[in-house]
Symmetry: C2
Subunit: 296 residues, 2 copies
């Protein structure tokens, strides 16, 4: 990226939570010249110092109250279940026309709750860059993380068009393709294509562990025999536990229904195997293959 | 690889089934000079001609009976459920001291059945190179497929030491690390680290398809929103249906028990989510992460 290739979209950006996503956004904002100043807010001084050294932020504070009043853009990049608490703490300090956004993996009712929590002349726009790694922390942040990724924005009937336009311009500037959908559709889609696969991977690791523990017949170290298949299938099982705890809880209703759906298909597979139905088994496998090949 | 860098281990090798694995083995045998002649056997003339053009084999026949009597090494690389049928067809044509092996993903009782089917002076050694791709067919074969991979050999009390030594030498020569275990341990280990993850991926694709079909609320194309997580988790769902039908059926008893184990963990996850037990949820996620990080 060429430094200062853009006219700044923002005078001062405050990033609440400078981890993988917050840190990557800071790096991209600064390297592309999209913000004159980027301030980090967080609990860990060591983490914020690392973010400073990496030039993801220009300065940091422990309490957002000190800086949000001078910011024209505030982005929440902490676990989703902390959003309301944050906004309750410093929402009143925001000046009119400040745009507040986020990078969270769950939207749904949270977006409406945030909107009603913020002062009337502060504009909220939910955003979810579909980018990430199984690694967490600012140490893994990179300016190019959002390049080529999709970013979903979730406007509501209360969203100000100019604020939506600014948030879209930001994500396009960092290289993402922006897609707009309502917050509830977002949670259903992400529940299916991201949250359920994570649960599948988490539970698969648990199952391997139980198989190993319960085994009385074979004395083999299962985990030492993994091939590429297992490694790929479970890569996302190493994602941040705090983050995924909150995502799962926040998208609970969708996820409960989706786990049921998944278990239903595993049971069907099992039943087909139990009765030795080779023809039906092959049909299931052919369907899975053709669906997989349609993934874009 | 340097051509003819090895003293030939074999005068004539017959490969039954010249697909991804059989074809890759042919390429490696020829490029490394491990066999003077490699003959392919298969049902599809077009496939065998492609294998010839790729120089994975020197010649081919439709009926193995024509060639196995002049071969000192015969390797089964067809779906595992066809092995017994093959050996019944041409087993009697083998000359004494021929080594018969395979590349199949299931061993268990099959190895004992093959041993009793073959003439007494023919030596069987089960082998399973843990290498592959979600693509099938000789078109995807490559000489380097087995480099850096593990190959499990499954000797029994009837295995001749000199035959085992030859088979180990072959897999080491093509770049694999050879591990020996009994056929039943093999099926348990592979059931857990490979077959179960495949079932998890197959069923996940099925679940996404049902979610899409049953949806009345959202009109979104789920499959167009996949991120890297879903793509990795389901990569192996695109594997060959015939091959996986046979693997699942052949390792049925292990797999049924393992699917139960997996479903149990999904149910536990669901229950934890249902009662909003954030602490237990985080504990589960931390366990999964630490297990995933131990995968070698």
């Amino acid at each position: 990226m060429t430094p200062f290739s853009h006219t700044p979209l923002f005078q001062q950006v405050t990033i609440i939570g400078v981890g993988l996503l917050g840190g990557s956004l800071g790096l991209a904002l600064k390297q592309l010249g999209l913000a004159k100043t980027v301030i980090g807010v967080g609990r860990s001084r060591a983490n914020l110092e690392l973010a400073m050294n990496m030039e993801a932020i220009d300065a940091f504070v422990g309490d957002a109250k000190e800086v949000v009043g001078q910011s024209d853009f505030v982005v929440l990049a902490t676990p989703v279940d902390t959003y309301l608490e944050h906004v309750k703490h410093w929402g009143e300090c925001l000046r009119s026309h400040t745009v507040v956004s986020d990078v969270g993996s769950v939207k749904g009712p949270l977006v409406l709750q945030l909107e009603s929590q913020l002062p009337p002349e502060v504009f909220f726009v939910g955003a979810h860059p579909i980018a990430g790694k199984e690694k967490s922390g600012v140490a893994y942040a990179e300016a190019g993380l959002f390049k080529g990724a999709r970013c979903i924005v979730t406007p509501t009937s209360r969203t100000r068009p100019e604020a939506l336009k600014t948030v879209c311009a930001l994500w396009e500037a960092v290289g993402s393709t922006v897609i707009s959908m309502n917050p509830h559709d977002h949670d259903w889609v992400l529940g299916a294509v991201s949250h359920l696969p994570h649960v599948a991977a988490f539970s698969l690791m648990q199952a391997l562990c139980s198989l190993q523990k319960d085994d009385k017949t074979h004395s083999m170290n299962l985990l030492s025999f993994s091939g590429g298949g297992l490694r790929d299938t479970t890569r996302i099982a190493a994602s941040s536990p705090e983050m995924w705890r909150d995502i799962c809880l926040a998208n609970r209703d969708n996820l409960l229904q989706m786990i049921d759906q998944y278990v239903g298909h595993l049971q069907e597979f099992k039943k087909t195997l139990q009765v030795n139905d080779a023809q039906r088994l092959q049909q299931l496998l052919e369907e899975s293959k053709s669906l997989r090949e349609r993934l874009t």
